[in-house]
Amino acid sequence: MKISLVPVPQAQLSDNLVDWLHVEDRRLGLISSLDGGQLVTLVLDCTDASAQCWLTPLDSDVYHSLTPSVPQAHWFERALNDLFGIRAAGHPRLKSVLQQSSCKGNLHPLRSIAQCGNPDHGHKSDNSYLHVSGEGVYEIPVGPVHAGIIEPGHFRLNCLGETIINLEIRLGFLHRGVERRLTEIPWRSARFVAEAASSDAAAACAIAHAIAVESMSDITVPERAQYLRTLALEVERVSMHINDLGGMSVDLGWSWLAANLSRLRGMTQEMAALLSGSRFLRNFICPGGVSVDPDARLGELKRMSEVVSKQLEVPINAFFDNSSVHDRTVKVGEISRSAARELGLVGVAARGSGIAYDARQHFAHGLYPALAPAMAVETAGDVLSRLKVRSAEIVGSLDLIRTALDNITSGTTSSELPNKLPGDTIGVGIVEAFRGELIHLIFTDKHGAIKRYCIKDPSFNNWTALAIAAGGNLVADFPVCNKSFSLSYSGVDL
């Protein structure tokens, strides 16, 4: 995808963005910066699958916040504050996204220029929580160490009895410096780091990275490789969606279903191993194509996909047929359509709230949008509708896998890569990962080295929605609510 660079002066940025988002099919991709001296705003237009990159030079460290008019910008602006030291004045909740322990003092890890003054300019990190007043209110702190193998994140629940009044989420306990690291290593090796940005969506990350690189240097990917990429993406989707449904059954306390789904998830991982040699689809997709050709194993893959879709029927039907499941999930964790739009939700969470947005329908990656399955959209916005979307996508993806396997062409699986990337270009990869729209945005300097590698994980958009959805629900329903969003901690904490 070609991307145009549009300079937007600081004074107009907010208005432009509001105007842009006013149109139904236009979206905000991400807001970031290159080195702290400017704002980079990626905006997407789904109607013609185009993207614009708005470049807004900043003359000081402080600019007028976009959040009051564009709520979905709030987490981007918080990240800008921490990572670059750019402060959004008028931001309603400018708190740190990084913990003090992972980022000492006033160090801004991604800031690399001096023209905006001293980086040590006194931005204190703010780790406070909203104080809910009221005589009977108490706080439940959960995390960062959870019971069970879960990534670190802190949830602060302000409760009145069994009702959650307000939930605040704090991530950033394990900041790994992925974005920074990607600019430091040779670009040929970058794919290994890129796919580890959020490892449970390794295939999606790898495709996004590959597309971003390919779009910079005009590499055409062989058709067979496109098929294999699509297969990898869909196998990952099926596998992770089944995993999420299984996790949901664990949280609902339904051990029979959990055991069944866990077995089926194992089978889908076996499918992944057949396809790529790795149960987690690691080291498979690379810029230019894919690294291995599964050849004869595709037949076995097809057989297994049929077995999985056959064996899935019983548990999925049982799941949605169960009245207690309905009790636990209907009207729990509701996100209205308008809130979903204002918060710019993506993926299952968006489609569960009635927003028909699936990057597979619009942006080219793998065989999409040509082969994109029908979109599953539910309007209720509660846990159940997210579950329904998820299970519909499992079925759709399994169908897609069979179609792709039936039509797969033979030929080479990778094409030559140039020695170096072109200078001063922008590459963007937009992929529908199983959690939703994933964006990798690469800027090169004049020598062709990567000067900024920007990753927007789907969870980046959706974490706020969890906080809002949990409010007003029962404390005991929070795990179910949380699981229905199935968010990535590491994807946000790059």
């Binding site: 959040t67 009051p68 709520p71 709030h74 309603p92 909740r93 909203l130 809910v132 007043s133 009221g134 005589e135 009977g136 209110v137 108490y138 706080e139 439940i140 702190p141 959960v142 995390g143 960062p144 160490v145 959870h146 802190h154 302000n158 409760c159 009145l160 009895g161 069994e162 009702t163 009044i165 307000n166 809130a339 204002e342 918060l343 706020t464 809002i468």
Partner: protein
């Protein structure tokens, strides 16, 4: 006989001299001085009761001491002795407790008035118990009411206390009115003022019996007349709260027992009514107690619950009498009497605990307490004992009396031929179990939020243990609760002659057949052994002390522990229709939709009776009053017109008859 009279005389003299001294030297003498007088008076009272256990003595005052139409008549029998003993015991502990407690109220009390009222209060309570005719009863009843109202308002700096005193006074007015009406009717009916000549709750005396019952119920705090109780008890200084809750409301119950139970045949409807009202009281009281966060108010609502339990016992006895089931009647009356004593003991103990917290932390609000276990271990031990007793946990005294109630209900269900009685008693067993569960929830909340966890406020952090004398008062009561629990079978058989006198049956021997003492020994012995050999000092590695698990986040703040409201919230939600309970949250600030600046959440509870019955009633009376003032327009001609109309009307009526 003579010792008994001498002791009683001594007690009365001490009481009256206390009054006199308080008026004259109230400001000059120390609190300890008055406390010692009160102490000696209470000892005399207690031993009067002890020595009076086996005598039945009547004393009529000679002519000058005469209430208009009837003499001052005093009778000390076993029933009166029981309640005198309770009064003596609680007053004894209150006297020990007082000096230390009153220290923190020095700025706020008028001690002259306080001690005068207190001596009057205690003396009049003793005389109400001893009263053998209606006028004596009414005179001292009034003295008791007025002096206690003065005590409720003793803290003159607090407007809440004044308001409470007003509400209380209003309630006592109604009570006295109803009582007076009933007494007059009975006098007209029987021509005698002596209680011994009256037969209540028979078919011929339904209306006056109801009047008397209402009058006494208002004072006892029975549902639906309990409204004044949660206002008055918390406002009074703690020794007074203990006396009011522990003894005064028992005296109203004593009057019910004396007037209704010792005269043979009664109407079954009275028994059924009392049983039902008792059940409602018990449920209502404990439910409202659960959602309180003022410690003393919580205890006050528990008094409503316990009064309900006692009334169940009385109702059971009445119904048993009416159905000729002496076993049931005997169980009921023993249970009622036993529970009166028990409640007097553990409720005053709990009030003392609350007072000790109040004196030390200067707040009774549970949301400001917490973590007192470290600072006030002895107070906590006593409070836990009292709570366990009020929750009727075996082998404490509360269990013994509640067991008697259960046995009574169960026996009724087994023996009665009336389907209504059987059904009602089974329902009562269920409701009592529910009440028991609620009481456990309520007291674990009270203890957990005030004593356990971490301090929620600076005051709670600065707390120190109560004065030794205050601890002694609590320890005596706590020990009594334990001993009375373990020796319950013996105590119950002491009460048996009383119930036998009421039911007319022969003494049935041991009512409580449970081996409570061995059980207590086994339980505590087993606990000690396990502690010594498994957990305690014999282990090689001492336990490692660390922070409470905080999920690796860091220090836990005082906010991160459950509040009283939140603890009770799930239960309150279930009983939402009764409590009119709802959660209100208010979100405000710049970007309300997604980024509010302020969130405020509260659980709101309205008293159904107050909001739906009493306030509209009061409003109606007010409106009526306002309508009546229209008649008084100020015009002399109008008044003349009224007189004319009245004269004509009278003439017509006179002519017609």
């Amino acid at each position: 006989m003579n010792t008994c009279i001498d002791l009683l005389r001594a007690a009365l003299v001490l009481g009256l001299s206390g009054c006199g001294l308080a008026v004259v030297y109230g400001h000059r003498f120390s609190q300890t001085f008055f406390s010692v007088i009160l102490l000696s008076g209470s000892v005399a009272l207690f031993f009067t009761a002890l020595s009076g256990w086996n005598v039945d003595f009547i004393w009529q005052a000679s002519l000058p001491i005469y209430f208009g139409v009837a003499p001052l008549l005093i009778r000390l029998d076993r029933l009166a002795a029981l309640f005198l003993g309770l009064l003596g015991a609680v007053t004894f502990c209150a006297a020990i407790f007082s000096p230390g407690y009153l220290k923190h109220l020095e700025q706020r009390l008028n001690f002259s008035l306080y001690w005068f009222s207190l001596f009057t209060f205690v003396t009049s309570m003793a005389l109400v118990v001893l009263a053998a005719n209606a006028l004596t009863f009414l005179v001292f009843w009034e003295t008791m009411s007025l002096s206690s109202a003065a005590l409720v308002a003793a803290d003159h700096t607090s407007s809440a206390a004044r308001r409470s005193a007003l509400i209380y006074l209003g309630a006592t007015r109604l009570a006295t009115a109803a009582l007076a009406g009933g007494f007059l009717w009975f006098h007209a009916h029987t021509g005698s003022w002596n209680f011994a000549d009256w037969h209540l709750a028979t078919a011929a005396t339904v209306i006056p019996s109801i009047l008397i019952l209402i009058g006494l119920s208002i004072k006892a705090g029975v549902w639906p007349f309990h409204i004044w109780l949660p206002y008055a008890h918390p406002s009074a200084p703690t020794p007074v709260s203990a006396l009011m809750s522990g003894v005064m409301i028992k005296i109203a119950l004593y009057a019910i027992i004396r007037l209704f139970l010792f005269h043979g045949e009664t109407l079954p409807a009275f028994g059924i009514t009392l049983l039902t009202i008792g059940l409602i009281s018990a449920f209502w009281g404990v439910l409202f107690a659960l959602v309180q966060h003022d410690l003393k108010r919580l205890l006050a609502y528990h008094s409503v619950e316990n009064v309900g339990i006692i009334v169940i016992g009385i109702g059971l006895a009445l119904y048993g009498q009416s159905q000729h089931l002496p076993a049931v009647a005997c169980l009921g009356i023993t249970a009622a009497l036993f529970h009166c004593v028990n409640h007097g003991l553990f409720k005053s103990l709990l009030f003392f605990g609350a007072g000790a917290i109040d004196a030390s932390a200067h707040t009774r609000d549970l949301s400001h307490l917490g973590g007192l276990a470290k600072a006030m271990p002895v107070t906590m031990l006593c409070f836990v004992t009292g709570s366990a007793a009020i929750c009727a946990l075996p082998p404490l005294n509360g269990f013994a009396s509640k067991w008697l109630i259960y046995q009574g209900l169960f026996t009724l269900a087994c023996q009665t031929h009336s389907r209504l009685g059987a059904g009602l008693s089974c329902a009562a067993v269920g409701v009592l179990a529910l009440v028991g569960g609620l009481a456990v929830a309520c007291f674990t909340k009270a203890i957990g939020v005030s004593f356990l966890g971490r301090p929620r406020s600076h005051e709670a952090e600065q707390c120190s243990e109560a004065a030794p004398a205050m601890l002694v008062a609590q320890a005596i009561l706590a020990a009594t609760c334990v001993v009375l629990g373990a020796l319950a079978p013996a105590f119950a058989s002491l009460l048996t002659p009383l119930s036998a006198a009421a039911t007319g049956s022969l003494a049935t021997g041991n009512l409580i057949t449970l081996p409570l003492l061995p059980l207590a020994i086994i339980l505590s012995g087993g606990a000690c052994l396990i502690y010594l050999f498994v957990l305690g000092p014999l282990r090689q590695t001492p336990p490692r002390v660390c922070r409470t698990w905080e999920c690796g986040f860091g220090q836990l703040s005082p906010r991160m522990q459950v509040t009283a409201t939140s603890f009770a919230h799930p239960i309150a939600r279930i009983f939402k229709p009764v409590l009119l309970y709802k959660t209100v949250s208010e979100i405000s600030g710049a970007h309300q939709r997604h980024f509010p600046e302020r969130i405020k959440a509260d659980a709101v509870m309205t008293s159904l009776l107050e909001s739906k019955v009493y306030l509209p009633l009061i409003a109606a009376v007010r409106r009526l009053g306002r309508q009546t003032t229209r008649l008084q327009a100020g015009s002399i001609h109008l008044y003349l017109l009224y007189m004319l109309i009245a004269a004509v009307a009278l003439l017509i009526i006179g002519a017609a008859t």
